[in-house]
Amino acid sequence: MPGMITAFVATTQRELLLSLRRPGDMLNPLVFFLMVSTLFPLAIGPDNETLKEIGPGVTWVAALLAMLLSLNSLFMSDYEDGSLEQLLLSGQPLPVIGLGKTLAHWLVTGLPLVIVAPIVAVTYRLPNEVIVVMMMTLLLGTISLSLLGAIGAALTVGIHRGTALLSLLVLPLSMPLLIFGARTVALAAGNEVYSAGIFFLAAYAVGALTLAPFATAAALRISNE
């Protein structure tokens, strides 16, 4: 019987292959993020100070919503074509398989947001040092969001049009990420000490990484009753 690591790698590879076959699903959240965060400067006007002030918050809200937008489909197609059943009934531990799927989700949704964040930051006239901080907060934040989102997606997988419920479940848990993420970038922009925020986001990500896979597995079993 293949080991856990093999199962984890195979799951991640399969999900990445599936995303490649359907690039639209991957691009959707990214386009949404870029649209929302670049429309704000156009609507508000070219005042440098205002832009610098709202930039961190707007970027973070756009990133959070983009991640939420993509979560619904995380387990949906597996549920519909019966492959979720096969995963639930396999001899491999379900948390490992769930973590593999979550990693793939982050690689195709979260990571691209982090990579394009500098483009967005430039439209808000944020200086280079702040852009680095923004990328760091988004990197840690999107990891946590993928992991938390997997729990919500697993709980709502059997529910028709569960998107609203999914947001309702995930948003409260992700509020600390939004508050600390946006505030950390704002502090960095104001030349103040911001390291505490980074530490908090890192701690949150580690906590989510430790606990979320088990919660996701339990949720998947419940929603497949």
Partner: protein
């Protein structure tokens, strides 16, 4: 190794409705059990409960004398599930699907290509699943059973969408599986024509 599956006093409620109560059976190596009953009588639910997808109200299921709830994951690596849906991704080819499946449970020493050829998909194994007909997709799902090295097959309506040749093929592979010492539980309305005697369990 000779395995043994025993179930006693199985009771399942869906909401307020009792689907079945006090059902029991024993299945030894080389034996097959057919679950019979009208539509909606709970054949699929019983099969899902045996697999551990649904929690039973009451009853114990033992694998080799040990309750399966003590180590559900170990039990899950002893069977393979053949459900209404194929469980294969429509965007991937049968070959890619089968290779992924190989990670999920113990495998026989056979290459996925050979197994797909043996179910009659030599020309379709590199096409996306969505381009295959319903019957061909069922055949691909059958390849999963053939490549898995597990004693127990759980099959839910295995003859849906299959032509006469496909049906005979399922019965032939089941026969091979049983003579190897495997066992199977099959929920079906149709009569099985197998070389071994078929035990029946009728759900009222």
């Amino acid at each position: 190794m000779n395995h043994k599956l025993e179930a006693a006093d199985l009771t399942l409620f869906r909401g307020e409705r009792c689907l079945f109560a006090g059902i029991g059976f024993a299945l030894a190596h080389g034996a097959v059990l057919a679950l019979k009953g009208a539509n909606g009588s709970g054949k699929t639910s019983l099969l899902r409960a045996l697999a551990g997808l649904i929690d039973l109200e009451e009853g114990t299921i033992k694998w080799d004398g040990r309750p399966v709830l003590e180590d559900p994951q170990q039990f899950r690596s002893q069977f393979v599930w053949y459900g209404h849906r194929t469980g294969f991704k429509q965007d991937l080819t049968p070959l890619e699907n089968l290779k992924f499946d190989a990670m999920l449970r113990p495998q026989r020493d056979a290459s996925p290509r050979d197994v797909l050829c043996s179910v009659g998909l030599e020309k379709q194994m590199e096409l996306p699943m969505r381009q295959l007909s319903a019957g061909q997709q069922r055949r691909a799902a059958l390849a999963r059973m053939l490549i898995a090295d597990v004693p127990l097959w759980l099959m839910d309506e295995p003859f849906t969408n299959l032509d006469v040749a496909g049906r005979e093929f399922v019965e032939a592979t089941l026969g091979t599986h049983l003579t190897r010492g495997g066992m199977a539980i099959i929920a079906t309305h149709q009569a099985l024509s197998l070389s071994v005697p078929v035990d029946e369990l009728v759900i009222q």
